[in-house]
Subunit: 199 residues, 4 copies
Amino acid sequence: MKTAMTGRPRTKPADIRRDELMDAAEVLFLKKGFAATSVSEIVEEADVAKGTFYLYFKTKDDVLAGLQTRFVETFCKAVDTAMAHEHADWSERIAAWVEACVHAYLDNVALHDLVFHQHTPANRAMKSDNAVVTRLAALLTRGAEAGAWNLPEPRLTAVMLFDALHGAVDDSLAFGKTDDREKLVAVVADFYRAALRLS
Amino acid sequence: MKTAMTGRPRTKPADIRRDELMDAAEVLFLKKGFAATSVSEIVEEADVAKGTFYLYFKTKDDVLAGLQTRFVETFCKAVDTAMAHEHADWSERIAAWVEACVHAYLDNVALHDLVFHQHTPANRAMKSDNAVVTRLAALLTRGAEAGAWNLPEPRLTAVMLFDALHGAVDDSLAFGKTDDREKLVAVVADFYRAALRLS
Amino acid sequence: MKTAMTGRPRTKPADIRRDELMDAAEVLFLKKGFAATSVSEIVEEADVAKGTFYLYFKTKDDVLAGLQTRFVETFCKAVDTAMAHEHADWSERIAAWVEACVHAYLDNVALHDLVFHQHTPANRAMKSDNAVVTRLAALLTRGAEAGAWNLPEPRLTAVMLFDALHGAVDDSLAFGKTDDREKLVAVVADFYRAALRLS
Amino acid sequence: MKTAMTGRPRTKPADIRRDELMDAAEVLFLKKGFAATSVSEIVEEADVAKGTFYLYFKTKDDVLAGLQTRFVETFCKAVDTAMAHEHADWSERIAAWVEACVHAYLDNVALHDLVFHQHTPANRAMKSDNAVVTRLAALLTRGAEAGAWNLPEPRLTAVMLFDALHGAVDDSLAFGKTDDREKLVAVVADFYRAALRLS
DNA sequence: AATGAATGAGTTTTCATTCAT
DNA sequence: TATGAATGAAAACTCATTCAT
């Protein structure tokens, strides 16, 4: 009997579906804001049924959390990629890290603000950025082991350095033209080197 | 809290009440966003009954429109005050105008974004800023009459000049330290003078 | 200080004010229905302040009750006027009564339905029509005293006769052209005479 | 009553649900009036949740519009059924049409008045009765093609004939006993035949 | 996995009624 | 007497979430 093509596509790999839903949510959240976007609109944009949304996310808040996680992952991936290149010394390594972070941040300010400010505004640099901090701490530890610098508290230092970068970028957000970016990167990298007593 | 006192109306001048409601709304909208703020919260913050809100505003959207109007009025008042001082010549007059606008804008970015971005984001410098443009156009016309410059289209020139300033400020939002402000004011004022073929 | 002419007219005789309010309410109730008419609209139509309404009526329902009372009064006045004329005999007197009632009813069906049906529909001939019944009972008693007929229960007879007339008119409402009215009057008058064993 | 059972949705075909909601609304509107009936009462009568109502109707007004549409549909269906029978000639066909319309109208006066008078009272025979007019126009055109009569303006004639019937029924509403109906049908049918120069 | 009708708590909005002036 | 700002209970309407299919 079931002749009519009721009910759209069909089964898709879970990852794809989840990503499609997050893409739809991201587009709408960015366009209209989180609260002003309804789950109905998200599923319509993603072209799935209402229930499907709740197959992949526990609540509407949950998709925001997902977006946050994805932001951090993307961020980390960009940094990892940059760090994978050859680097002459630890100073260059630090500079590369700073450059990658600044760009990754500035390229997605709107998304960053969305996923980190939504619930408790005015708290840039939340705990969720931790994955980045963790990576930086690891880098610092490797540098210490290699004798590049001497740090009694690599984790704490990582937190401070990350927040320093975060603050600098926050403070220049709109001036983010390519050339300004380079200046910003240079300033921050210098700051890092000084903090690490490099050179 | 809430010293009993339930019930009995406590009449206040309409202007005061309306302003109190707008103040309450502004505080909450700025803190939690427009959509996430309920009328119930607004009236609680303003310490009036639900119905009182609808005595002064047709809908929840209407209070946002009121906030927009008030923002422009405040903006204009600040500019007017600055222009009321003595000015050596038209060049100084233009500089004073630019300085007043830049400060009025930067001092209230959050509010500006709230009242102008809420419904259709990404459209800074909307038509509602017109009261400011109108003022600038009047200034340009007076200058033309005084022989300070020669402008075939004062209104159109005012629009372009205003949008130029708006864009410059948008582009520097976060760099807004006092000294940066001064540089920004200087740059924009220079731009204005050049556009008006002054000096 | 009070220079501005704020606040409209001024004191008026209570009767006038009350009637103006009832007129306003009647017009609106007839046009939009009772529930769909707000007290705000009534006071606006009557050109007084909100509070003034509650100076003359306890509730919104109360004005409907007032309209009901006024309807009955107007009805009775019309009947009284008709009965004040000279009448050859009791048969003519009865005929005059019937004629006056039928016309008074048919001339104001909409108003009658409004004031009597609003709350419990489908109950034409309510107790409030009693003033009419009372009058009829008095007429019957006077006739009995004059020896025109013999009635052990004038009040009960009045009720039955009144309801009979009411029912007949209800049953012909829309047929109420002038000529039809005359036929209706004739039929009902005949019914009355028979019930009273007249002639 | 109310055997617990709170919660769990019980899916039904959309048509059924919609009809149940309209049935509930019709019952209540007829009993208490449109304005005096709340959506809460409707959903309780229909035994569904509040939201379900808004799944099928945009607003409370919308369900009244739906009732109007349904009234016209039911009306047309009744007329169509009557016209589907064998008819000796066009005169009989016209008589059948008139009879069906008169009955369909008189059988549902209260509903007719509800759906057509609610918003703008005192305008029986609104434009929405058009589906009926359209049908009559089609009938007249077929008759013209069959040579039964000659009509330059079938549509306009249909409008006039329909309004004539509407008016006649309005004018006799309460006299609508079975035998009176027959007389009414006869008079109107005669009128139609005369207007069409039949026989 | 996917669907979408159904739910109901929560929000916006209305309006009869009160009372200090 | 008259006013109209203020009240708050109740009605209209929304939308995140559930679950039988």
